[in-house]
Assembly symmetry: D2
Homo-oligomer: 202 residues x 4
Amino acid sequence: MALKALAINCTLKFNPGEASSSDAMIAVLEQAFAERQVSITETVRVAALTIRPGVTSDEGDGDDWPALREKILAHDILIFGGPIWMGQIGSVAKRVLERMDAFLDETDDAGRMPSYGKVAVAAIVGNEDGAHFSSAQLFQALNDVGWTIPAVAACYWVGEAMGSTDFKDLDETPEMVAKTAKMVAGNAAHLAGLLKSAPYPG
Amino acid sequence: MALKALAINCTLKFNPGEASSSDAMIAVLEQAFAERQVSITETVRVAALTIRPGVTSDEGDGDDWPALREKILAHDILIFGGPIWMGQIGSVAKRVLERMDAFLDETDDAGRMPSYGKVAVAAIVGNEDGAHFSSAQLFQALNDVGWTIPAVAACYWVGEAMGSTDFKDLDETPEMVAKTAKMVAGNAAHLAGLLKSAPYPG
Amino acid sequence: MALKALAINCTLKFNPGEASSSDAMIAVLEQAFAERQVSITETVRVAALTIRPGVTSDEGDGDDWPALREKILAHDILIFGGPIWMGQIGSVAKRVLERMDAFLDETDDAGRMPSYGKVAVAAIVGNEDGAHFSSAQLFQALNDVGWTIPAVAACYWVGEAMGSTDFKDLDETPEMVAKTAKMVAGNAAHLAGLLKSAPYPG
Amino acid sequence: MALKALAINCTLKFNPGEASSSDAMIAVLEQAFAERQVSITETVRVAALTIRPGVTSDEGDGDDWPALREKILAHDILIFGGPIWMGQIGSVAKRVLERMDAFLDETDDAGRMPSYGKVAVAAIVGNEDGAHFSSAQLFQALNDVGWTIPAVAACYWVGEAMGSTDFKDLDETPEMVAKTAKMVAGNAAHLAGLLKSAPYPG
């Protein structure tokens, strides 16, 4: 069974044409996933959409969440990418997490949320410190609403404390990031395959 | 010197006419501040505004942040109110924090950010667990960009684990919340007064 | 293949004879795991041991970590139980997480840490708020060092904000806690079984 | 009125003779505080003491907390220093925070905890990422038990993501760290002076 991954880029930059370090990190993961025969079908620039505040699956009135929600649930693996701001995951990412709150009430007859059996990994970038705070926020929130977190599920980069270098401007991918990306992709692909073949019984 | 407080309500509900538990908590604090001769001049429903994603003080194109920023900086005390979602502070609150990132580059000749000498307190509500995670996020982020945090600066309420009661629907204010509100208001008013009389020298 | 679970109780109370709310929560999970044919072979009262500060697998001089480490790695499922203090997971739990830091350097030829293929779930209790902050800390730290987190991996209870009731003193297990325990156990047992049959390839 | 500061070093290394990056960061702050006429009377190596698990002010049986607690409360400023492990503040630091939980019940007739009127700042170091998560933990916990947090209260250093350099081994203090230390010390000294002259009324 072929596995499909979707990447969401939760940068604050709404223009998909504008270069984003989150995209650069997703690109590193894309190559690592390709080595595991998993293709990323699309990277969604979330800030280019209108994701309305709220905690239902459709907040009406031009809300782009219902379509993004369908897209996310049509894939086996979610690559949750986004930037650190103020030492924490950015507001666009938090908005996406919030919209998944509705999963709690969307269980099937066996009590399973729509996210059950899918795995999520994090792709986090920042000029400086905040990756662990961000992955803690992501893992706790995603797990609460049914996502499974494979071993070593965070691929991240930040520069030295109080630095200002962007990941997208590095001359080359740091060795540790490339190595971590391979672990993240390998573990995610393996676990998503297992869960696709044998879903949680509920 | 009379002190002025501004409250921001970071509920996800954009309609100011819609009842909000964050408003209910701000109301508890309003009374406690009144006992200390501090009036809340306004409660801003942030979701009713257009606060654009970004980390500058003006993201152009209909951005309501420049006006809200001015309003915040025209007061001595910020009551940062907002709801817990997914065990963490909501996305509207995170957006406001992000926009304050610009303070880091807006220092005066003595190296002081525009927030220096102002105090911030938190008003947090949720159906269930997440208040401490939220206040940790708020205090770290606000402090990074120059806000001072008075002793016991968080007034919060959540129900029992996995509950669904709203603070706004309680028959009466829990005694512990009322007691905490008095501490928060008393300490904030005292500290804001000291800092207004004797600003940080930078 | 029969699955084995180990529970660790990170209460601050060092005397195993002293009643602990973490034990009470572990007992709820024990019953839920039993329904999935998984038995908890033992609940380790960590504070009764000497777990020395440090980040290697053996800090010498009476260190009980090497034996606890072996015990943990001899099981398929880790039930990480502990109390909330100051809105965060307690210091005994943090000590255990720290000692697992050594896993990062203990990889096999395929680059796999000793925790690979094992799943971890959280059992968190407190008088009041802090469960999500605690599970965020646990999931991020455990995942960093190779643990897999099944869907809905946190079973927790806290009372109303600023309350003082202990979970161990409740007349009966709250319905939502019992329901969550079933989800946690069912998902953990399923996932641990899959990974035991088909380990991460590395 | 002369102000006195106490530094606590929450490294995991119990031997005070062993070099610690937390000590190196405290030394940077010591110089910055000296420029503000505040001397650090002592740096306490907490891991060299026996701080028993618990949440009372005296856990008996060789507990060194009562003496450390007295020392902390005899100063105007607390420099809370410690290392990042697993992306979060270390277990020795968490233990100290826990012991301060007792302050909540040790209020005077005006409802003031023993920490009221004292200010706390953070000195955080790590090989890599985790400083903001750590300062969020520290500020929330310290504030809950009555400490006041001056503007810009965290002085920290971490290297690039997944790096292994120790702060104590840097050839020179990074410019941004030195600059931040000056802000931290200047703000803390100013605020501690104000609060010493005019304590919270309660």
